[in-house]
């Protein structure tokens, strides 16, 4: 039995026992999606629902997104990044620790459908997976692809694949990947301001302003988002490029020091914008300035809620 099956079985067993013992009123996990390469969020409330729960490398959404404002006792199936997001929400008082059971899943990285499509453009009718590879098939073809060739960008540089904090792990710990070295951002800084602006404008040119990135993000729980404020109205509602740019800049800033690089935003984006580029610029700065990574400890304070008398700010004259 492969790792995936073992973890799936463990999740189901644990979910059943948590629900029947009343330790959890709902288990938030994943079910098989109705389309290939997708695992969908699933809310199990009865032990008999639990056999629908699965673990899969298509589980790209961050389930911590469903925690804020929930009144029930929750057991959360959480990969490394999701667990960190959940910890972050607890430090930000969006959820109560005593109402959360973190069922940690050691994750080996998730598959990016866009990269699969780049390798195999024909319509895919079915996708199966083993621990190392996925098998996709369609009309007249079957192809095996190694997972490590089609991992999401954020998964390739994830150094916390095993949840750092959890109530229970569903499998043996897995080694983290080499962390993001931000080499591309470094390279970008060597260009002129106009070239950099052109790069970022091009990055978001297809943006529909659907805000799926915001809605998929476990950090975005504000009751009224700045894009929806009307008095004053900070953002026009049209597809004006500067309004779009403002949205992405402010979204990035709001996530600074809180983003766990879960990639849910990029997963949700219907036009495949690398929206996380804005976050990465800030992640780099947060790590350089304050050696901070969010969601690694219960008592950690996010960097923008604290200060040091000697914070580095040579640019302030």
């Amino acid at each position: 039995m492969g790792n995936l099956e073992t973890i799936t079985q463990k999740i189901r067993d644990k979910a059943k026992s948590l629900l029947s013992s009343g330790q959890a009123e709902v288990v938030i996990g994943y079910r098989q999606g109705t389309t290939p390469l997708v695992a969908a969020p699933f809310f199990a409330r009865k032990p008999e629902d639990c056999d629908k729960l699965i673990w899969s490398s298509f589980a790209r959404l961050n389930l911590a997104n469903y925690l804020p404002n929930r009144k029930e006792k929750v057991a959360l199936v959480a990969k490394g990044c999701d667990a960190r997001s959940a910890v972050g929400q607890i430090t930000e008082n969006q959820f109560q620790r005593e109402n959360l059971y973190l069922l940690g899943v050691p994750c080996t990285g998730l598959v990016d459908p866009a990269q699969v499509a780049a390798k195999e453009p024909r319509p895919i009718r079915e996708a199966k997976e083993t621990d190392e590879a996925i098998t996709i098939s369609g009309s007249g073809f079957t192809v095996d692809i190694k997972k490590e060739e089609v991992l999401r960008r954020n998964c390739r540089t994830c150094s916390h694949r095993t949840p750092t904090l959890s109530d229970e792990l569903t499998g043996p710990e897995v080694p983290g990947a080499k962390p993001d070295d931000f080499a591309d951002i470094q390279a970008l800084l060597a260009k002129t301001p106009d070239e950099r602006l052109a790069y970022f404008k091009d990055l978001i040119k297809d943006c529909l302003r659907c805000y799926a990135c915001r809605n998929a993000c476990p950090l975005c729980y504000c009751p009224i988002c700045f894009v929806d404020e009307t008095r004053p109205q900070w953002l026009g509602k049209s597809t004006d490029p500067m309004d779009t740019m403002t949205f992405h800049i402010l979204r990035g800033l709001h996530c600074a020091g809180r983003c766990t690089a879960c990639g849910a935003c990029e997963t949700a984006c219907p036009v495949n914008i690398k929206v996380r580029e804005f976050n990465r610029v800030l992640d780099r700065s947060v790590q350089e300035n304050w050696s901070y990574e969010p969601g690694l400890a219960w008592e950690q304070k996010p960097p923008l809620t604290v200060y040091q008398p000697n914070d580095p700010a040579d640019f302030i004259k």
Partner: protein, 148 residues
């Protein structure tokens, strides 16, 4: 076409830099008139969207100035603001806002001379950048002649 006169939106803390501007005026220290000043209770009040809004509406430069670290009227407002500025400055610089268009400074209410020098310096840097055409919202993009 007359020579380009930059428009700079200035966000000043009520307790320090705004006082410095006042003192500079009272002391008859001349400084360029290119600023539109927005008085804030503290630089901690500065939401990044104010800066973006200024650029979006066509400001050629933005200048943010408050109390020296340690001198905040509200004890730690400018310390918190400083962390925000660090990230904001990094992000705006990375995505291609010319750093010369955006100035942060600490000027106490006694530093009228520093205010005068800084004001001149800000305007000269922004002038060198030229008009802000890349980071403004070309609001309506319609020929008003069409409807006039």
């Amino acid at each position: 076409m007359s020579e380009f006169e930059p428009k700079v939106v200035a966000f000043f803390c009520n307790w320090c830099t705004y006082g410095a501007a006042d003192l500079a005026g009272v002391s008859r220290l001349d400084y360029p008139p290119n600023f539109r000043v927005v008085r804030l209770p503290c630089t901690g009040r500065l939401n990044p969207k104010f800066i973006l809004e200024a650029f979006k509406r066509g400001a050629d430069g933005v200048w943010v100035s408050g109390c020296h670290p340690g001198d905040c009227h509200y004890i730690a407002g400018n310390y918190h603001a400083r962390r925000k500025f660090i990230l904001l400055h990094t992000l705006l610089e990375t995505i291609g806002v010319d750093p010369n268009r955006l100035r942060f400074s600490w000027i106490s209410s006694a530093e009228a001379n520093k205010f005068q020098a800084m004001a001149k310096d800000v305007v000269e840097h922004v002038r060198a950048c030229g008009p802000n055409v890349t980071f403004r919202k070309d609001e309506l993009r319609l020929d008003l002649a069409e409807v006039a």
